[in-house]
């Protein structure tokens, strides 16, 4: 491939150490087919034709933030403030990324409770330079630990212990519930009530036809979510408007069906 003016292509670009350290992307996981419901698609079309083609609020459209807060409460979670305590993101990875940045974690710091190898999100932790350690290997003091992290797919019996650890060490807890909203295997968030520094990240992929819209969220106390709000704006300004509209329609439909 050549350009018309380029007789030479210049010297090679020097990449950052962090970029070189990441493993190649595997696309093997994308085998599922998604079908967007016709009524959702029509409503999204109407919204777009109606002018919803602009940036939304940085943390997401207020009605969707409110619905997400409601859903988390239905799962037994705390009553998060939809105005200051919820941020809509482009999927769960972005949710976790801006949460970590917003909590101002530094390279070398320990997150307690994650799988030793970091699990599915190892590349993200590695990118920030964090050291995930299992609960058994966690430091006894909070000197190095900055965060307790828990993924819903892990053994749920560990949840109480992790919350006790977070409470005991005065650390924030980030619970990654992934696709629990709309899932048959919904997480129970009632244990979070005992720790006032609890945050929840996840996505809305389990809502029928919504996975391809790539919608995630961060929720938590306003003071802890404030950093994630800023980093979300810095990273991608806001989540796609039609994606947010589709997610809102799907959540509204789910609410109607539940009645």
């Amino acid at each position: 491939m050549m350009s018309t003016e380029s007789s030479t292509i210049g010297r090679p670009m020097k990449l950052s150490a962090r970029a070189l350290a990441l493993a190649p992307v595997s696309e093997a996981a994308r085998s599922d087919k998604v079908t967007i419901a016709a009524d959702v698609l029509k409503a999204v079309h109407d919204a777009l034709i109606g002018g919803e083609t602009h940036y939304t609020n940085r943390p997401g459209i207020p009605a969707l933030r409110s619905r997400v807060a409601d859903e988390l409460q239905l799962l037994g979670g705390p009553a998060f403030d939809p105005n200051l305590g919820v941020v809509i993101t482009a999927g769960v990875r972005e949710a976790l990324f801006v949460t970590m940045l917003g909590l101002r974690l530094l390279p070398g710091e320990v997150i307690v409770g994650g799988p030793d190898d970091g699990g599915e999100f190892a590349d993200l932790f590695s990118l920030i330079g964090l050291r995930p350690v299992s609960l058994g290997d966690a430091p006894s003091s909070s000197a190095d630990a900055r965060l307790v992290y828990h993924e819903r797919e892990q053994d749920d019996t560990a949840t109480a212990t992790l919350i006790a650890t977070a409470t005991g060490q005065g650390l924030p807890l980030v619970l990654n519930i992934r696709s629990s909203i709309g899932s048959d295997r919904a997480a129970t968030l009632s244990a979070l009530a005992s720790h006032d520094q609890s945050m929840v990240v996840g996505d809305l992929d389990a809502l029928p036809g919504i996975a391809a819209f790539r919608v995630g969220f961060v929720a938590g106390p306003a003071a802890l979510v404030a950093g994630a709000r800023l980093w979300k704006q810095a990273f991608s300004i806001c989540t796609a408007a039609p994606s947010q509209r589709a997610a809102l329609i799907a959540l509204d439909r789910r609410r109607k069906e539940a009645r």
Binding site: M1, M2, S3, T4, S6, S7, T8, G10, R11, P12, M13, K14, L15, S16, A17, R18, A19, P24, R30, D32, K33, V34, I36, A38, V44, H45, L48, I49, G51, T53, H54, Y55, R58, A90, G91, R93, E94, F97, M100, G102, R104, L106, D123, S126, L127, I128, A211, A212, F213, R214, L230, A234, F235, S236, I237, C238, A240, A241, P242, A246
Partner: protein, 390 residues
């Protein structure tokens, strides 16, 4: 990553957002602030995008839909005679903003220095700081319409690893002509700088001008990352689709970073971008005509008020000097908003030394721009500054 960082860039960005939030609470504000086109996304783009996602689809991959990357490559070949491999040289991102962030993460290590023309879009600072880098300002000046001057760049080139060039410029509207781009590229090539060429406003160029892509300059293909998107050209800010074009090694690295930090872009948004590229391009000419008309209206109004500005050769901003009102830009903008209901952004949100400048966006219908000028006229008259009439 340095999550503790981002103080300066974040502060500058927050200046803009705090004014926008204040504006939301006030009645009848004319917003000449945010760079969000008020024009409608062409309906054909919406119709085709929605039709394209009906039925069953594979989940999109991280690098972006094949059909979108092919359409981007076709567009560069058709319009610029630049050929890129869609498989290895293009990455689709959540808007150009994510593209910028990923680029800095891919190129900048702790302690690296990134050259940026000053004034500049503060998100550059945020991305640089997050990657652990340091912003090195390359001064530009009113007398040269804020063009990046190769001589100035040359003086500082040895200090940096990366140069960010935005052409046409945000916030100044300066548009560097092709020979100027070649001269800058020559300096970058000699110094071994990687150039991140932000070309998001390239279709909005006035006065018969054009934008030469840095990647098209002699010997720069492997030293250039082209950053662009669909938001400004097609009035599609809400869809959040941008892209990066660069050498295969860079694109592979940026793709790895995207996989770690966000994953694939929305399917519907990507199909909207495909529809934008494959459909009629008439809207671009129409948007350019509208923005040009507004640009002339605002320039004429500023002339009547005796407010100097740099010549806006592209984009949809005017960078105006308010020094004669004897008021710092932030205070000027806040009072203009609360007293006259006109939102502009202070120069300090594009670099801390720009206390005597404001950025005026042209994203209101002409009648509203005229009303904004009337309000501005009454406001500055009330300040007691001598009004200059044409």
């Amino acid at each position: 990553m340095t999550a503790h960082a981002a103080p300066e860039g974040q502060q500058a960005t927050e200046i803009r957002y705090s004014l926008m939030e204040l504006a939301e609470q006030l009645p009848d504000v004319i917003s000449l602030g945010r760079g969000d086109p008020d024009l409608d996304t062409p309906a054909a783009i919406i119709d085709r995008a929605v039709a394209a996602v009906a039925g069953a689809h594979e989940m999109p991959n991280v690098q972006g839909l094949d059909v979108l990357r092919a359409a981007i490559a076709n567009r560069y070949e058709r319009d610029k005679d630049l050929r890129f491999d869609p498989e290895r040289e293009i990455l689709v991102t959540n808007g150009a903003q994510e593209g910028l962030f990923l680029t800095m993460l891919a190129l900048v290590d702790r302690g690296d220095r990134v050259l940026v023309p000053d004034p500049r879009y503060s998100s550059y600072d945020q991305a640089i700081e997050a990657a652990g880098g340091t912003t090195v300002e390359v001064p530009t000046r009113l007398e040269r319409d804020f063009h990046l001057e190769p001589e100035e760049l040359s003086r500082r080139a040895h200090e940096g690893k990366v140069l960010i060039l935005v052409n046409p410029n945000n916030p100044t509207g300066s548009c560097i002509p092709p020979q100027g781009v070649r001269d800058i590229a020559a300096v970058a090539k000699r110094a071994g700088l990687t150039v991140v060429s932000d070309e998001i406003y390239e279709s909005l160029v006035f006065d018969g001008g054009s934008v030469l892509s840095v990647a098209a300059c002699e010997g720069m293909r492997n030293q250039t990352v082209t950053l662009s998107g669909f938001s400004k050209t097609y009035a599609m800010t809400g869809f959040r689709v941008g892209y990066l074009i660069g050498p295969p090694g860079f694109i592979a690295a940026a793709t790895r970073l995207k996989a770690a930090t966000s994953g694939p872009c929305s399917l519907l948004s990507q199909y909207a971008a495909v529809a934008a590229l494959q459909g009629s391009q008439d809207s671009i000419d129409e948007f350019r005509r509208v923005f040009d008309e507004r640009r002339r209206l605002m320039m004429s109004g500023l002339d009547r008020l005796g407010i100097p500005y740099s010549h806006p050769g592209g984009g949809f901003y005017i960078w105006a000097n308010i020094a004669r009102f004897g008021m710092p830009a932030e205070l000027f903008c806040r009072q203009l908003l609360t007293e006259a209901r006109v939102l502009m952004f202070p120069g300090t949100s594009f670099g801390k030394r720009w206390t005597e400048y404001v950025r005026i966006s042209l994203l209101q219908p002409s009648a509203r721009l005229e009303e904004a000028l009337s309000r501005l006229s009454r406001f500055v008259t009330a300040l007691g500054a001598p009004q200059v009439l044409a």
